[in-house]
């Protein structure tokens, strides 16, 4: 019986020494971004896309501006408070006078997504529609309209004009 009681006490000690996990620190990204890539159409008669890159461009939306140097991909944080996001695409960032740019407007819906108690919420988006100008962009293709925490998805392709 003494062994039993000793074992009982030992088990309590072991269980009580289980490490305390600090669970009020948020280590996860809280902003969901839509990922896009550049492409061009290799055929004059059909729609055959091939990935490409831009040498010295930038995109701007909200307060964010991304310089794209030899970049084949970009990411855009969609608006969590509006149902559309406007993006300006300038293909030549060295241009200082008479800037010519394309405007792309993404229309989307958003739902709250619970991350954790420590991190709170972010938004998952569903792309509904894309409108754009045609200075340098031939078309915008939606590959996947669900913008969520899957970081391996390319949601859109900007097909550059030849």
């Amino acid at each position: 019986m003494i062994k039993f009681r000793s074992g009982f006490g030992a088990l309590m000690i072991i269980c009580s020494l289980i490490s305390c996990k600090q669970d009020d620190i948020c280590l996860l990204p809280q902003t969901i971004r839509m990922v896009g890539g550049f492409a061009y159409n290799t055929s004059d008669t059909s729609y055959v896309l091939k990935d490409t890159f831009v040498e010295n461009s930038y995109i701007t939306f909200a307060t964010d501006t991304q310089i794209l140097k030899n970049a084949s991909q970009f990411s855009i944080a969609l608006s969590p408070v509006h149902d559309s996001t406007r993006v300006i695409f300038v293909p030549d960032s060295t241009q200082t006078l008479g800037i010519v740019a394309d405007t792309i407007i993404f229309r989307h819906t958003a739902v709250n997504n619970f991350i954790s108690i420590a991190c709170g919420f972010n938004k998952f988006y569903t792309l509904q529609q894309v409108q754009y100008t045609h200075h340098f962009i031939d078309s915008v293709k939606i590959n996947n309209n669900s913008v969520n925490d899957n970081v391996n998805t390319q949601h859109i392709q900007w097909v550059l004009a030849n």
Binding site: I13, C15, T63, A77, P80
Partner: protein, 253 residues
């Protein structure tokens, strides 16, 4: 200055570390009294008889237990508190029936969200006794068991605050709601007599939700009886102090 540093250090003890401290102190205490009372072993050996042929009369005794570890939370001022009682009775010679009841409340109040919730729960299940009784009326034993848990959760409206590095800060709300939760548990535990009619018991538990999608929108910080509800699998423990109730003809100490 030294006193001030010690005092500020005391205030920084987390809930988990406080529980660890209490459990270690309790553990050392119980191990110490086990060795400090050799008379118990002598008494046990004297009382040792042939293997008990316990009559197959169910529910001749019952222990009513209070989960002391949760009661400490209840009287403290943490974001989570609950109270739990346990009823255990003999159902079969080597199988005990268990009913556990409790209630709790939790709140979340951080930079990202503020809401509170209350919960009531019950668990029913059985414990299989692992060892034979050493003498008639010996209820000291180790057990393994299963439980089915059921809880009613009431969650207040939640205020959400999001600081988006690109779009700035914004707020949102999620409406109040009531919902149910149920889960399965595997348990392991010990129970031993401390003094006449008073037992202490220990349970460790592994739990898994049967309806995890219910918690996808906004889970409470804790669900009483289950634990952290943003995890589909949770681990928990209980430390009970129990009082033995028995029928007159029950063969218990």
């Amino acid at each position: 200055m030294l006193i001030r540093n010690i005092y500020s250090g005391y205030l920084q003890i987390s809930r988990c570390n406080l529980l660890r401290l209490i459990l270690v102190v309790c553990s050392v205490f119980f191990v110490a009294i086990s060795y400090a009372q050799p008379g118990i072993a002598v008494k046990d050996s004297v009382a040792l008889v042939k293997k008990s042929k316990e009559k197959k009369h169910p529910f001749t005794w019952c222990t009513v237990g209070l989960d002391v570890s949760k009661s400490i939370l209840w009287i403290s001022n943490f974001n989570y508190s609950m109270a739990e009682i346990q009823l255990v009775s003999n159902w079969q010679p080597n199988v005990w029936a268990a009913l556990e009841l409790g209630a709790g409340k939790s709140k979340v109040d951080n930079a990202y969200m503020q809401f509170s919730s209350t919960q009531q729960f019950m668990r029913i299940g059985i414990d299989k006794v692992l060892f034979n009784a050493e003498f008639i009326g010996d209820l000291d034993n180790a057990t393994i068991g299963v439980r089915y848990g059921l809880a009613r959760v009431s969650r207040s409206a939640a205020q959400l605050n999001v600081v988006d590095p690109v779009w700035g800060a914004y707020t949102d709300k999620i409406a109040a709601t009531n919902f149910g939760a149920h889960w399965l548990e595997l348990t392991g535990g010990f129970k031993m007599q401390f003094v006449k009619r008073i037992f202490i018991g220990w349970h460790v538990r592994m739990k898994t939700f049967l309806n995890p999608k219910t918690f996808a929108v906004l889970p409470p910080n804790y669900v009483a009886g289950y634990g952290k509800s943003d995890k589909n699998t949770a681990f928990g423990y209980n430390f009970y102090i129990c009082y033995l109730l028995a029928k007159k003809n029950a063969r218990v100490r």
